[in-house]
Subunit: 220 residues, 2 copies
DNA sequence: GTTGACAAACTAACCAGTTCGTACATTATG
DNA sequence: CATAATGTACGAACTGGTTAGTTTGTCAAC
């Protein structure tokens, strides 16, 4: 039940007493941080409101209820990250280099967007029921598979990748290696007494991930 | 709400009116399920108490407070899973087969212990602060690295594995592929519209995981 | 260009249900 | 009897959500 606002000519961030778009955005960003940090049940509406330039009443005015706010925060996280993925360009590169770039980029991208990773973890704890409720997110992700699929296809055509692999499974493998690196850093580091978050360690893990994927798809 | 109370005058000789160990265990198992399902903040003490054969009073009697109960549930999850890992025996096998077995076993073991995976996810959301507070868990895990380390060492000695790899990083890679498979099943399946939880799909993903690891460590 | 009516944006105080935790009494056990 | 184990009832604080009302913007009619 989103409120439809009259289109506003974009002006610089308004400091006018009433600023619907700004207020809405401010709430969404604050809520995103709080949900990523504490989860759906752990986050507190009062706390979100306090950190906002606005008030609790405005949260309910714009987002209906807590779950509505969470859903928008989830969509916001997916959208932000997917938009960032557009920065990856592998068009000129030969397949092997393109795939290497894609894995490196994915690794770094996940690394830089910990809040997104946390939102996905939280959503998985909830069995993905809010993601299912969103008609925004699914549209964002179908294209994510296209990139790796086209690289793989080129590689097979040029004879450097072996045929018969499923691009979705490739994407799964890349995701697993890059996601786990962020999602399980706390427990992994604490259990084995070695901080894997250092730049040195991260570079090694990234190189390993690239090598694993390349050796897996390689035709040789 | 009709309270169904256990019959006080039961003649079962096995069930003594007071059963400290049984009560404690019953509470712990119930709490483990609830925390794995709903997280620390999402779980409700009253709900846990209701599902118990005992009462809320007993929870506080034995576990102090909610966080204490959560910590014990976390330790319980780690202990249960680590004990199950003892079932893996690769002593007679040549290194390649041993490593294959280890990956397959880890994959299946994670698959079968979803509640453990969920507890680890939840604990990571909490930045591992409860795990850090536990002096039980760290002791359980150091040995987990030994198995893969010894297989790897044998492989290097026999010339079938390439030298220079870090067993902890190997363990990291195996964990990533096996953990992600369970932790992100909900969002992954829903986003790409394909249920990767089917036995058919799981077997493919498992085979891929094995192949990736083997190709990565192979000397060839 | 002032006015006034209406809608959008916003505020403060409050409410009702929930939730963790406890006080106190009672029963079993050794 | 002394102590451990357990049942009952309750309360203080928290928390999601609402009620009732105020301020600000828009725009047509003077």
């Amino acid at each position: 039940m989103s409120q439809v606002k009259p289109a506003r000519k974009d002006r610089e961030p308004s400091k006018r007493p009433q600023d619907p778009d700004g207020t809405r955005q401010d709430i969404l960003e604050t809520a995103s941080r709080e949900f990523a940090l504490n989860g759906l049940s752990g986050a507190r509406i009062d706390e979100i409101a306090a950190r906002t330039k606005s008030s609790k009443r405005m949260i309910y005015y714009y987002f209906g209820d807590k779950e509505g706010l969470y859903l928008r925060a989830l969509e916001n996280a997916y959208r932000t990250v997917r938009e960032g993925e557009d920065d990856l360009d592998t068009d000129g590169l030969p397949p092997v280099e393109a795939l290497r770039r894609l894995v490196e980029f994915t690794f770094d991208h996940h690394h830089e967007h910990e809040d997104f990773i946390r939102m996905v973890m939280i959503e998985n704890i909830h069995h993905g029921e809010y993601l299912e409720r969103s008609d925004v997110i699914s549209g964002l992700n179908v294209t994510a598979i296209d990139h790796i699929a086209s690289i793989y296809r080129r590689g097979v055509e040029e004879g450097v990748f072996r045929p018969g692999l499923d691009p979705l499974e490739l994407h799964w493998q890349v995701s697993a290696l890059c996601f786990f690196n962020v999602s399980n850093r706390a427990t992994f580091s604490k259990i084995f007494g070695r901080d894997i978050g250092t730049t040195d360690h991260q570079r090694r893990l990234r190189d390993n991930a690239v090598e694993m994927i390349l050796k897996f798809v390689s035709a040789g």
